[in-house]
Amino acid sequence: MPLFRKRPAALAAGLLAAALSASVAAEEVNLYTTREPGLIQPLLDAFTQETGIKVNSIFVRDGLAERVAAEGTRSPADVLMTVDFGNLIDLVEKGLTQPVESAVLNEAIPSHLRDENGHWYALSMRARVVYAAKDLPIETFNYEQLDDAEWRGKLCIRSGQHPYNTALIAAHIVYHGEDATRAWLEGMKRNLARAATGGDRDVARDIMGGICDIGVGNSYYVGLMRSGRGGPEQVKWGEAIKVILPTFENGGTHVNISGAAVAHHSPNREQAVRLLEYLVSDAAQKLYAEANFEYPVKPGVEVDPLIAALGELTVDSTPLVEIARHRDAASRLVDRVRFDQ
């Protein structure tokens, strides 16, 4: 295989050249994201088109904070983007972000969806909803009902340790305290139809496959499945379920966010802020939300029809920071009731 022998040196040289040349290019901004950047690539391209600022992105799942921290003052990271407010607030607590003062951002994003000191900003919302078999005669649902004996052996949900679930459990703790939440989790565990694992889309497929009758999943997966963007198979999964926007008994629907912050050692701070401001413009908010079938954070921006059809969203008013405070307790409760075992 001569290819194997000749290429490495050339590639290494090429990579080094690319790395060095990257640092001398004119205007650019570096995006570190736990959100798959392919989804918002069209939006980033539009930003480059409009401003001439090139966006380099890297998709990192676990260890984004550790990487940025290790890179320290040399870090090329300008914008840090995550898909869970717990992760976003973690970045702030680790000192990896810097405050941003921007009238544009403050005006576009409601105050409960951004840090009061400007360390982080939500860019989109997703609701934690209930998927149910088409023929079930239920129209409304409270999260508190998930442990009802009615659903014994009929509930599907992903790992209790997944950030989407620990956030929901933490919100339950805010409303009802740890003891009641523990009992609630134990009830849910009894209701499980299969191991708490996989993804939210598996919930829809398992309902179609007769494994369970109800399940918990994020709102945008419904759009992803029903739009056919995930291929024709997933359309069937999406069509096999009906979607209910559940609420807490004394509250609204639990939402999580995707959001962004400017890195503490950002070498292109000005461009980073411009990217954030661009992402909350009306046009970008619509595209950003549509890209993944999410709810825009900017009031008045249109929601994708597939998501609008799910019903009116009443966002639970518990501050995200308050929920984040109970995340550790929620995760330990999941361990304690052996939810995933």
Binding site: M1, L3, F4, R5, R7, P8, L11, A12, L15, L16, A18, A19, L20, A22, S23, N30, E36, P37, G38, N56, I58, F59, V60, R61, D62, G63, E66, R67, A70, E71, G72, R74, P76, G86, S159, H162, T166, R194, A195, T197, G198, R201, D206, M208, G209, G210, I211, G230, G231, P232, Q234, K236, R327, D328, S331, R332, D335, R338, D340, Q341
Partner: protein, 588 residues
């Protein structure tokens, strides 16, 4: 200092073994091996630093709520996968090595094919294939005339049994590869003797071949078990909560990296203890090939039904571990290409994947040569420990190792940057993370044990008297290595290199975390697509990982499977005498 020259002067052949060839105090090989071991140990040392920053408060929670169940699950999973891989790997290896039956030549290499399939892909594939709305159960319902999956379902694969099944059938080639080579090389004379003495088929296998192959089976099984232990994709996806999942939960969900490092290191220590116990258990046994002139095993012909059964027994693992997932991926890919075409980025990603893996493979082999050869030419226990230390990386989950590497890499970068600024007035910035070198470092640190293990096995079959002869004739240690050893252990080098290459290609977590901005490999592309939920697009990348992985696996079937025998024979004949004499009795 000219150590090579002085070493010749001080070389002593009186004792007859290379290990006792006297070396100057600062043996350059020992120093080089020390550097390699240091590079591998550095991320683990940095994990210790991280772990010490945590409190022990975590452990009361773990002991109360997590450990009883996850330790049990981990042990059940390891026992299941260990038993399944040992059974399939040893059984098929024995069939193929010691028997002749229709189709043997095909299954001989086909049994290696599952090596090309990453565990996370096979788990996805089997969930899809065996799901109530998947092809298998749909067909069964159609046959039985049942409409709704609510009325009839097979047991869910998302279970411990499903996980053992999937991992066992994709990891058994590690055992097959090592056991097969051992059967072919080591046992011929003894097995023939046993047969002459009237032992039946079963007795020959159970009482002669299997005990002799034990080190090989142990090495293969331990590779499979370490893969299992550090697997995060398949086990998590199938709902089995191993200790590794606890590491992740502690780190990701609870943002407690020190706690996660503590669990990972505790696991590492347990693994090391097990390895030491196994070594101790066979401390006084000798498995070396005592036959003066090893020769190939005479294959027993299996006729009629026995032959068909043998073929079936070998075909089933290939079918489950490779044909089904590959067929599934191909089907998905065809659907996707029809639906949306192929992403333009794919050729670039293939190149990135191959280039990174190739560079890492070359380095892993060179580093392995250094540590293994140092253990041969240097005296005392130190070099052997260096080999062990250099093999630690495989016993740590990929992401955890990558996290441990981050401070090491950025530390080196800061050091070089400061030096460069002072000397040439230029900043080198993040030259490791920015160039992909960090990923290569991670691959080498993680997979060095594979190339080192393969080389150790190869070197152990080269008689020390050869070293002595070469050195007496005035060759330096370096020259002896490249002119004498490397040609003799070429197949072992090739086997190690190809295994490392395949593992690098499949590696995901460290690649994801340590790669440069805007740099994608097939594995990261696949992961991105899977996260985005466009599974069919991911199928293309998955199929390509399997396809590119097949190239080295197929080469492996040429060199790895047949090669060592010839090399071993050549080595032995060159070492011990002029012409091999099949009739010569064993020396002992």
């Amino acid at each position: 200092m000219r150590p090579a020259d002085s070493s010749i002067e001080s070389a002593s052949i009186s004792s007859g073994t290379a290990a006792s060839v006297r070396r100057p105090r600062w043996n350059p090989w020992l120093i080089a091996a020390g550097v390699v071991a240091l590079l591998v140990a550095a991320p683990i040392a940095s994990l210790f630093v991280t772990a010490s920053a945590g409190s022990d408060e975590l452990w009361s929670h773990l002991l109360a709520s997590v450990l009883p169940a996850s330790v049990r699950d981990t042990l059940v999973l390891l026992a299941g996968v260990g038993a399944l891989t040992a059974l399939i790997g040893t059984g098929t290896a024995w069939l193929v090595a010691a028997h002749e039956f229709p189709g043997r030549r095909v299954v001989d290499w086909a049994l290696l094919l599952p090596l090309a399939v990453p565990t996370y892909i096979i788990a996805y594939a089997y969930l899809d294939v065996l799901h109530p709305v998947g092809p298998v159960q749909t067909a069964i319902r159609a046959l039985l005339g049942i409409d709704s999956p609510r009325d009839f379902r097979l047991p869910d694969i998302r279970s411990m049994a499903g996980c053992i099944f999937v991992l066992g059938f994709v990891l058994y080639p590690y055992v097959y590869l090592t056991a097969r080579a051992m059967f072919l090389m080591q046992s011929a004379n003894l097995i023939d003797a046993a047969r002459t003495l009237g032992a039946g088929r079963r007795a020959v296998f159970l009482r002669v071949a299997l005990p002799l192959a034990r080190p090989a089976v142990v090495i293969g099984v331990s590779l499979a078990l370490l893969e299992t232990l550090n697997d995060i994709g398949a086990a998590e996806f199938l709902g089995v909560r191993t200790l590794t999942v606890s590491v992740y939960t502690t780190w990701i969900t609870r943002s407690d990296l020190p706690g996660a490092a503590q669990i990972a290191l505790a696991m590492l220590i347990v693994v090391l203890c097990l390895v030491l116990v196994e070594r101790w258990a066979r401390r006084q046994r000798r498995f070396a090939n005592d036959a003066q002139h090893p020769r190939p095993l005479a294959r027993q012909r299996l006729r009629g039904a026995r032959g068909v059964l043998a073929l079936a027994a070998c075909a089933v693992p290939v079918f489950i571990g490779f044909v089904v997932p590959a067929w599934y991926l191909l089907d998905q890919t065809i659907q996707r290409v029809r639906f949306a075409g192929v992403s333009a980025a794919i050729p670039r990603e293939v190149l990135n994947t191959v280039a990174l893996s190739a560079v890492a493979t070359v380095l892993a082999v060179l580093c392995a040569l250094v540590v293994v050869y140092a253990a041969r030419v240097a005296r005392g226990p130190a070099p052997r420990w260096l080999v062990r230390i250099a093999s630690l990386g495989y016993a740590v989950p990929g992401t955890v190792l990558a996290i441990g590497l981050l401070p090491v890499i950025t530390g080196i970068e800061a050091f070089v940057d400061a030096a460069a600024s002072r000397l040439i007035g230029a900043s080198t910035g993040l030259f490791l993370l920015g160039s992909g070198a960090a990923v290569v470092y991670a691959y080498v640190a993680r997979f060095l044990t594979i190339s080192a293990g393969s080389l150790e096995a190869g070197f152990s079959r080269v008689s020390p008297s050869i070293d002595a002869a070469a050195r007496t004739l005035g060759a330096s240690a370096l020259r002896t290595l490249f002119r004498v050893h490397v040609p003799m252990v070429k197949p072992a080098i090739a086997t190690g290199a190809l295994l490392v290459f395949v593992d690098c290609m499949k590696e995901l977590p460290a690649t994801l975390l340590l790669r440069p901005l805007g740099f994608e490999t097939l594995a990261t592309h696949l992961y991105g697509e899977a996260v985005r939920g466009t599974y069919e697009e991911a199928a293309i990348a998955a199929l390509l990982i399997v396809a590119v992985g097949l190239v080295p696996v197929l080469i492996l079937t040429r060199v790895g499977v047949r090669g060592p025998v010839e090399a071993g024979m050549a080595a032995a004949s060159r070492a011990d005498g002029p012409e091999p004499d099949p009739a010569a009795p064993p020396r002992d």
